[in-house]
Point group: C2
Chain length 255, copies 2
């Protein structure tokens, strides 16, 4: 399993991914799922991956040689794409091609080749953008109404994002809430685990502002975990107990 | 979609279910999913249902006439089962029979006939018990290590249960935490909705102690919702911001 989140707020872009992969619960490894796939003087492009590791690794490996794009008939590379939108098209084409190639040799329905990517990046003079790319190569873009996208084990960590992330949330706050979302996910799904990789890109500066790996001994993350657990318990304790009178509706009883 | 929770703490049993059903987002209705399927002087048995409504309604309708049990060769009814364990076997047999009958006529894979039930109840002189029954009729029992079971849209509301429900949690507190779990679920999935049906059974007294339907205008639930939202925001705000230095690992960059 996997959990990756991209957050796109006014101040910039945050990309986060866990590093646990598993093929069954008896085969658990650590793999990097967050990568900077292109970094030049005028651009930075990052990708988080979820799903079949053989498909996503294959897709990313194709990027260096460039991707033959059906619409232009040319081989295009991330180093030369004019926009992050075009980068999403190129990576989508790479993912689709990788998945098709692997589907052909696998041909056994019981082997899953589903894969999804988050692509986030910026070019100079353009605002940062964030996309969720599906296995078929199509994608959706993150907008200010719901300024985040998730892939992998998305549900446990979604309520906290829904309640606390807005487009005007400062970037440091977005990192913090993102980590709370990881904390909630790891509490409930063992297949998502530390370390967490994290990069930020500030709007107006198309480069990695901060890149950090949160290891199990990370003091800030441990404190965040504890504070969040304690605050949740205190919050629940502070809510008065229900005082419902018993009012059984006849429809409660099966006829 | 559906969300149902059963909580089995030392003080007793709590059963909760939402009432929203949907066949696509353009066909949403209110159906009762929590029922008292048997109530006699010495017993109470409740069921929550999730999944195919045609399967679960069919299964429950079979209970009145009694179920032919393959192991005893006899027609058995919930009014006469000696234990709640036997009740789970009878209801499991009813569910399996209903699902098989409907699978035979449907025969189209695109129509889902999956269904699950929570069965919770008590007999005099016996502790309350709680089971999760699968479509094949097999089931698992709730134990004190994880004193709750969920069916339907389980993930959004699970973290709060994992953090706050223990076997020693008082029953009123369990109702409150259960409602927080519903609040988290309804915040993130529109297909789970009010009213919420709720019944409690106190250990040592095999009857409905409290039955209540929480309607949209319920003051306590609205207050719980507000307090929980505000407390989460305050809890997140109280956590210091991360101060990570940028330490990019060379492996971050795709070669």
């Amino acid at each position: 399993m996997t959990y990756c989140v991209g957050l796109l707020v006014r101040e910039g872009l945050v990309m986060m991914a866990d590093t646990r992969t598993n093929a069954g619960v008896d085969n658990i490894s650590t793999y990097r799922k967050l990568r900077v796939v292109e970094a030049g003087p005028d651009r930075v492009i990052t990708v988080c991956s979820a799903g079949s590791l053989s498909v996503t690794q294959n897709a990313l490996s194709r990027l260096h040689a460039g991707i033959l794009m059906p619409d232009s008939g040319e081989i295009e590379t991330l180093a030369r794409v004019p926009t992050i939108f075009r980068a999403a098209q190129v990576v989508g084409q790479a993912l689709q091609t990788a998945k098709k190639a692997i589907d052909e040799v696998v041909k056994d329905d019981s082997i899953g080749t589903d894969a999804t990517l988050l692509l986030g990046g910026a070019r100079d003079g353009q605002r940062p953008r964030l996309f969720l790319i599906y296995g078929a190569g199509n994608f959706i873009e993150c907008g200010p109404d719901t300024p985040y996208l998730q892939i992998g084990e998305t549900k446990y960590g979604k309520p906290v994002l829904d309640r606390m992330i807005h487009f005007e949330t400062p970037m440091a706050e977005a990192v913090k809430v993102g980590l709370i979302s990881f904390s909630a996910t790891m509490r409930s799904n063992l297949a998502v685990g530390l370390p967490i990789d994290l990069v930020t890109v500030r709007a107006g500066a198309p480069k990695i502002e901060m890149a950090h790996r949160i290891e199990p001994e990370d003091e800030y993350y441990a404190e965040l975990n504890d504070r969040w657990s304690n605050a949740l318990r205190a919050a629940a304790a502070a809510i008065p107990l229900p005082q419902y009178a018993s009012e059984p509706d006849p429809a409660l009883f099966l006829d």
